[in-house]
């Protein structure tokens, strides 16, 4: 078993005592996530608590299914509510004491009593119900406000729906903004539009297939998820991964960070109407995408990870090519740092916007550049080193601006660190094999793997029951940890700040929503889709046919 991991199981009656001691005495002040498990007669719950030195306490408990209730831990960690809501939806375990809020991640029209991550559940149940019934208002769950700023009841406010489809958003999610003039008076965030049932999908596939499935959780940080997953599986199987493979993983991971940060810089520019920055950074990002394509064969889902190592070796010519590209990128990044420090309108739009104090960042469990820009020096690469990071020399970039400008500075600084890491990797690349053979069946066990994604800490929990398929795969993407601080950042700000503040956590909603496959509806023909759409609106009192006649 890996160092820096503790696994403890306590009974439900003594659980809160143990939890309290872990948080208050042993200094486990971060909640990575809460994993739910279906263990027949019981629900298993694992609270993954982390300490700043990288130690992780996995506190397990069991709740009987007949009891079906558990007390929330939001008094310790406000950020826990979204993790608990997720278990509520996917397992049907009720959490008492949660603040009022909207369900997550299943859609509003999801039938009551259907909990997809239970072992006895399959998508066939939806097929039997039929699609029309699912959209029926009568089985809609009551929905309510969800976040810290509750939507006001004042009718002098304008309510603006930003999303699910809106030019500011690159992925579907919804922000209902209440405006007083140009100022934001209330905000309601709704996520879950990208829920694709990947966690359930993983349980029905072999470990090997899952490497490629989790890679498809996200298009930007695909290597993040596949590495995080294989690390967990390798830990369970007790595989000794060759050092050369670790270095190659690190190289791809850092290239991914560079392309993600450059992408972010461009998107941030676009959100504040500075399209020139977008065009410049995305042009430079293309060089990284080409490198990734040369090394791995793909631009987006690299497919370089395998359980036990990597699938492709790095030739010395490729290494030289990487170094050459890095040299140009260093120059370009220096130029962007200059732009960020000098361009007046850019600074006006970024500084003082989206304030998140250090205390709030810690309280709300922010991760990655969002936390580091608030002066929280947390980086999994340093705290809990994986791959080759333990042998490499790099700095954790922090900043004390606590605003969007700080987040920009941190990301630009991290780009420079990534270039240095890549140079070290190429220079010190050890010889040897690139993979060890992995067994088809992974022995019984469980593991928690952490990875510093470009957006922050990515967490995978994997449990094996000794078969070919995993018993449970739980993914906590960084955006889920960060999205909860957005309402805080937007308190008393302007509507114009919303796009950039949301963009500044570098949200990735595909990652966040990942996990319940709806195959039930089958493939609909064009005519059927049309009829379904007409019926759907007729039920809500909107008749397009009548409108046309008018």
């Amino acid at each position: 078993m890996r160092q820096k991991r503790q696994w403890t199981e306590v009974g439900i009656d003594r659980f809160f005592e143990a939890f309290d001691r872990a948080v208050k005495q042993d200094g486990f002040t971060m909640l990575c996530t809460v994993s739910g498990l279906d263990e027949g007669a019981d629900f298993g719950l694992i609270y993954h608590l982390a300490r700043t030195d990288g130690e992780v306490l996995n506190l397990k408990t069991k709740v009987n299914k007949d009891r079906g209730e558990m007390k929330t831990v939001t008094v310790y960690f406000p950020s826990a509510q979204i993790y608990e809501r997720e278990i509520e939806d996917l397992f049907g375990l009720k959490f008492t004491g949660l603040p009022p809020g909207r369900r997550y991640p299943l859609p509003d029209g999801w039938p009551t009593g259907e909990h997809p991550l239970r072992k006895d559940w399959s998508a066939d149940r939806l097929k039997d119900m039929g699609a029309i019934q699912m959209a029926d208002e009568s089985i809609r769950l009551p929905i309510g406000p969800r976040h810290e700023i509750s939507p006001p009841t004042d009718f002098s406010l304008t309510k603006v729906p930003i999303g699910p489809q809106h030019p500011a958003l690159k992925e579907p999610e919804s922000f209902n903004v209440s405006l007083r003039g140009e100022k934001i008076a209330g905000l309601e965030i709704k996520l879950g539009y990208n829920h694709r049932g990947i966690e359930k999908g993983c349980e029905g596939r072999s470990f090997l297939q899952d490497v490629y499935l989790v890679e498809r959780i996200c298009g930007i940080c695909s290597h993040t998820h596949s590495t995080c997953f294989v690390q967990a599986v390798e830990e369970i199987a007790g595989l000794e991964v060759p050092r050369r493979a670790l270095y190659i993983r690190t190289l791809v991971g850092e290239l991914e960070r560079i392309h993600s940060h450059l992408l972010w810089l461009g998107v941030a520019g676009h959100e504040i109407g500075f399209d020139t920055l977008l065009m410049y950074t995305w042009r430079d990002r293309e060089a990284v995408m080409d490198l990734l394509a040369t090394i791995t064969g793909n631009r987006v889902n690299y497919g370089i990870n395998a359980i036990g190592g990597v699938r492709r070796d790095l030739t010395s010519e490729q290494g030289a090519e990487v170094l050459k590209a890095v040299d140009t990128l260093v120059e370009q990044t220096k130029y962007y740092i200059g732009v960020a420090q000098e361009e007046t309108t850019l600074i006006q739009r970024l500084s003082g916007v989206g304030k998140l104090s250090k205390e709030d960042a810690l309280r709300l469990g922010a991760v990655g550049p969002t936390a580091r820009a608030s002066g929280v020096a947390r980086d999994i690469r340093k705290d809990d080193p994986y791959a080759a990071y333990g042998e490499l020399d790099f700095k954790v970039i922090t900043d004390d601006h606590c605003d969007v400008f700080g987040r920009t500075v941190v990301r630009l600084g991290e780009l420079m660190e990534s270039y240095s890491i890549i140079r070290q990797v190429i220079k010190n690349l050890p010889d040897g094999p690139i993979a060890v053979k992995a067994p088809r069946r992974i022995p019984v066990g469980e593991a928690l793997s952490r990875y510093e994604a470009p957006r922050g800490e990515d967490v995978h929990y994997v449990k094996s029951n000794g078969g070919e398929n995993p018993e449970r795969v739980k993914v906590r993407a960084p955006t889920l940890a960060n999205i909860q601080s957005v309402s805080k950042m937007l308190e008393d700000r302007y509507l114009a700040d919303l796009p950039i503040v949301v963009a500044a956590i570098d949200p990735c909603f595909s990652c966040t929503d990942r996990a319940v496959e709806i195959e039930g509806q089958g493939t609909l023909s064009w005519e059927d889709v049309r009829r379904y759409g007409i019926e759907f609106y007729k039920k809500r009192g909107i008749d397009f046919g009548a409108m046309k006649k008018k």
């Binding site: 030019p167 500011a168 504040i272």
Partner: protein
């Protein structure tokens, strides 16, 4: 009568102006693209866009006030084209001129902004309404500096007629130098009027979709876009006529070429601004205009009054 119609509809009126405007849009987009390291559109792209939009379905929101919704773009188009007729282009005299036409042109140029407001407001859509309110808020910030900065050269020339201003500066070419501060102010204010980066707040895509124009489609959107294109050329011509009134006595062909150079130079500066700045927030924009732009414009007026009173008697 026929000559008047020819002037209004064909040259230098609607048809000619449309062609120049479409070309100006191409020039703006191409320059913007090249500055951003992109290839940019082919020369006929603005015309192709216009024709495509004309052929598209028009969707009018059910809640919208149909008359206002449909009339706004037409008014915008008519006002900008009319304003153009009073501006001296490549000679001292404009197509039409009377004492006080400078004021009329300025008022005609406020009409497009008002139609953006009305069109957006009567769309009865949230994004349009916010865009409309922003349009009018911004209007109060840039309009005064624009008026003041354009009146300053007129004070020096002692006439309220654009043709009169042109005649005066042709006689005293070096006086142009005194108005350079006003030229800078007018350029900034024009950015606000044309709703371009950094002042494209009323149509900030990432916040309110397309502002006032969110609900517009097809023909009406095409008219609005044409009106905005024409407004760019008219605004640039106005600035060229007031602040760059040299070479107006050249023979027609050369004068015409010089006019185009002036207009495209002004548009080029506007494009450059668009490339290097980020969009400001509405509060920052209003603050900037009243704190800096308006006082500088007043300073220009003061300067010209003093010049007139003491130096150039």
């Amino acid at each position: 009568m026929i000559w008047a119609l020819f002037q209004i509809l064909i040259f230098p009126g609607l048809l000619f102006l449309s062609i120049v405007s479409l070309f100006a849009e191409f020039y703006d987009r191409k320059l913007y693209a090249r500055l951003q390291n992109r290839v940019g559109p082919p020369w006929f792209q603005p015309l192709a866009d216009f024709i495509k939009l004309l052929g598209k379905e028009e969707v009018v929101p059910e809640e919208a006030d149909i008359e206002m919704f449909k009339l706004s773009p037409v008014f915008a188009l008519a006002a900008t084209v009319t304003a153009f007729l009073y501006i001296p282009l490549w000679g001292i005299n404009a197509a039409y001129s009377f004492s006080g036409d400078l004021i009329v042109v300025l008022y005609l140029l406020t009409i497009p902004t008002l139609t953006f407001f009305l069109g957006g407001w009567y769309s009865r859509s949230l994004f349009s309404a916010i865009g409309a309110v922003r349009s009018i808020t911004q209007f109060f910030a840039y309009e005064i500096p624009l008026f003041i900065s354009l009146l300053a050269p007129a004070i020096l020339a002692n006439t309220w007629s654009l043709s009169g201003i042109a005649a005066f500066y042709t006689l005293h070419p070096w006086y142009i130098i005194f108005n350079l501060i006003g030229f800078g102010v007018a350029l900034v204010a024009l950015l606000g009027k044309l709703e371009r980066v950094p002042f494209d707040i009323p149509e900030a895509e990432t916040e309110i979709v397309a502002g006032s124009f969110t609900e517009y489609s097809g023909r009406f959107l095409a008219y609005f876009r044409m009106a905005i294109d024409i407004e760019v050329v008219v605004g640039a011509s106005l600035l060229a006529a007031v602040f760059l009134p040299f070479g107006l006595t050249l023979p027609p062909v050369w004068g015409f070429i010089l006019y185009l150079i002036k207009v495209f130079a002004v548009i080029g500066v506007l494009t450059l601004f668009r490339t290097v700045f980020a969009r400001l927030r509405i509060d920052q924009m209003v603050e900037f205009c009243w704190k800096w732009v308006a006082p500088i414009a007043f300073f220009q007026v003061l300067l010209n009054l003093m010049l007139k009173g003491f130096v150039l008697r």
